[in-house]
Amino acid sequence: MAQAGKGRLNYRCPSCFLRDIDMDMFYDRDRDEYYCLRCQYRGKEADVLAKNELARFRYGAMHRRFTFEEED
């Protein structure tokens, strides 16, 4: 089994991202999956993308455009 490398994009671990850790994942070509060196997360690209959507749950106003009083 060859050593792991980077995938198409340099995905971070979604599980670590949720606890404010930017942890680059590595890609295991034999299993076609990404895995985290720090925690126990592993998953295929589709799962990483889905979990990244989940990680955005805390940004409740992410799509909202605010207005502010201006002083020009």
Binding site: N10, D20, E70
Partner: protein, 613 residues
């Protein structure tokens, strides 16, 4: 003419440390690798082109490596001539073959070198810059510039008027985010431009004698709520910060948060005599052709173009002035006095919580007031001490450049919710017939006004409901007086369901000192109640002792490790001053005042900060 000022700064790093790791995956480290240099230069050109496309001038902060690159030098000269871009000199981007050969180290953060090496490197890069351009730069910077470094640069190269001197709240949280590997430990500084003191970069100068001679700007303009709680590098006016935080729609690639952040900074003009400021500072590593984390290059490019386009649009509408760093330094000194504070009533623009924080910074203190906790002070840095804090190899603080706190709710619990102990916070409790309610549990909002030399933060009234039947409406106001190290707090009882009743207000400050999440040795601290012959002194020995003295004049704590004395005073003849020592499982101290109040009465206390020696 708008007084919303933008500094847009590009640095032609030729071996960005993060790109080297990413694009060099599977290779031995080689900072001068041609492919990396070529790509970095190409990205720098792209960034410059995008700025100019939208009518924005930049400050080009040449890196040491780029001074050896004729193409980078030529590009800087061309853009200076064509667009009026300023050519400055960054102390970031040191790594290159020439640097490694000369200094025999992989260190790249200027503030972490020994003072001797700092001087040698500064002379080296400034003289190389002079050799290339025929003049000395007016601006320089790094992620952090310690006071010794700034003082040396100003003495040797007086042409320098503006420096990038800190990343706001990039401390233990950023370290944690990078899996405990990114040593930019520099919490506790200003978020907006300031004049650093000669003693400590974070602490603004109070007068000409303390003036380091430069105007400092922060590295990026950061979200004053999100960055306080989370990773600083996710929430700043660098479009790729916003992408790093995944604060964009993954389908449409839209990121209203970036524009909300810029606009909220614009809105701060109303608290600061009409002046507002933004800084965008990018190196090439973030626009790597291979993408950055989840983001492909196309998204990185789009975000940077959109950022430049928005600033350009504001400029076209007359709502923004773009300046170079040196221009801004001159402008800032015209607009601000030493004692002019920086104020920011900041609202949540990301999480949808509706929370509101008020940040205040002057030469004597940096304060954060949390309206979601009834106006409690949740962060306090005693700048009045002007603490000398040398950093770098050969000093007691090789990496840790943070200005120590007395209160930090994230690192020291804040309002306490756990099993045993206390957290740092400055709040008050209302007590009646054996019940007590902490104002930290009263969510409210605040408004800001200026009266003469006072900046006044007035909170909306809150209601306390005691189980025994009494209801009390209370209002808090914090008054910050310009040129003073005193913070006045008024608690006024506006209404009671039974006007004949009296309630007790217990004002308190629970504090400690530190720069990280971990406790420090408290054994050199001294608590004191000044009350003439009734005075009480408690040397800190973790023995959980306390004292309360009716009619006391002052309660205080002296903290020799940070050369700070913090004290509280109060009005009212029936006041009782108290002090409390902590214990090993709760290494805090508490100062406070207690007084009985009726409807329409006001309890006023003052928090005072001084240098201890």
């Amino acid at each position: 003419m708008s007084s919303f000022i933008l500094n847009l700064i590009h640095r032609p790093e030729l071996s960005p440390e993060y790109a080297e790791k990413l694009t060099g995956q599977g290779r031995e480290e080689e900072p001068g690798r041609k492919a990396l240099v070529d790509e970095s230069l190409e990205i720098f050109k792209t960034q410059q082109a995008l700025a100019h496309k939208y009518g924005l001038r930049t400050t080009i902060q040449m890196t040491y490596a780029s001074l050896f690159c004729p193409e980078a030098v030529a590009l800087a000269k061309e853009d200076h001539a064509a667009y009026g871009d300023e050519i400055g000199l960054s102390l970031l981007g040191l790594p290159c073959e020439q640097f490694r050969e000369k200094y025999r180290t992989k260190d790249f953060c200027i503030w972490m070198f020994s003072l001797e090496d700092k001087k040698a490197i500064v002379r080296d890069v400034f003289e190389k810059f002079h050799e290339i351009f025929g003049f000395y730069p007016a601006s320089t910077g790094s992620y952090y510039m310690d006071a010794d470094l700034i003082n040396f640069i100003k003495a040797e190269y007086p042409s320098v008027s503006c420096v990038i001197a800190t990343c706001w709240e990039e401390g233990p949280k950023a370290y944690h985010t990078c899996n405990n590997s990114w040593y930019t430990l520099m919490d506790g500084g200003p978020w907006a431009p300031w004049i650093p003191s000669k003693a400590n970069t974070h602490a603004p100068a109070a007068n000409a004698a303390e003036d380091s001679g430069v105007v400092a700007i922060p590295h990026l303009s950061r979200d004053l709520l999100a960055c306080y709680d989370g990773n600083g590098s996710n929430f700043g006016t660098h479009p790729q910060n916003v992408l790093r935080g995944m604060i964009y729609d993954s389908q449409t690639w839209e990121y209203p948060y970036l524009y909300n952040l810029i606009d909220q900074y614009r809105s701060l003009a109303r608290y600061n005599d009409g002046l507002a400021y933004n800084m965008m500072f990018v190196g090439p590593g973030w626009m790597n052709k291979a993408g950055r984390w989840e983001q492909p290059y196309e998204l990185l490019y789009k975000a940077y173009e959109d950022g430049c386009a928005y600033y350009g649009k504001l400029k076209q509408e007359g709502k923004l002035q773009d300046m170079t760093m040196a221009e801004f330094a001159a402008y800032y000194r015209q607009r601000k006095s030493y004692t002019t504070p920086e104020c920011a009533l900041w609202r949540d623009i990301l999480y949808g919580s509706d929370k509101q924080l008020f940040w205040y910074c002057d030469p004597y203190m940096r304060v954060c007031v949390n309206m979601d906790q009834g106006g409690a002070i949740v962060d306090l840095r005693p700048y009045a001490a002007k603490l000398e804090w040398p950093v770098g190899i050969g000093t007691p603080h090789v990496q840790n450049a943070s200005y120590p706190f007395l209160i930090q709710e994230k690192y020291r619990a804040g309002y306490f919710t756990h099993y045993a102990g206390e957290g740092t916070v400055r709040s008050a409790k209302l007590c009646w017939r054996g019940e007590e309610a902490d104002l930290c549990l009263c969510r409210t909002k605040a408004s800001f006004r200026r009266e003469g030399e006072d900046r006044i933060l007035t909170l909306d009234p809150v209601e306390i409901v005691f189980a025994g039947g009494l209801r009390v409406k209370l209002q808090t106001a914090h008054t910050f007086s310009e040129g003073s190290a005193n913070l006045r707090t008024d608690r006024r009882i506006l209404w009671q369901s039974d006007p004949a009743e009296t309630v007790t207000i217990r004002e308190y400050l629970t504090a400690c000192y530190g720069t990280t999440e971990y406790p420090e040795d408290m054994s050199s601290l001294t608590l004191h109640v000044e009350a003439g012959e009734e005075s009480v002194t408690i040397p800190y020995e973790y023995r959980c002792r306390e004292a309360a003295v009716p009619g006391a004049e002052e309660v205080s704590c002296t903290l020799p490790p940070i050369k700070t004395r913090v004290s509280m005073l109060a009005n009212g003849r029936d006041r009782v001053g108290f002090i409390r020592e902590g214990y090993a499982f709760s290494p805090m101290f508490t100062l406070g005042w207690e007084r009985k109040l009726r409807e329409q009465e006001v309890f006023t206390t003052w928090l005072r900060l001084e240098r201890a020696d």
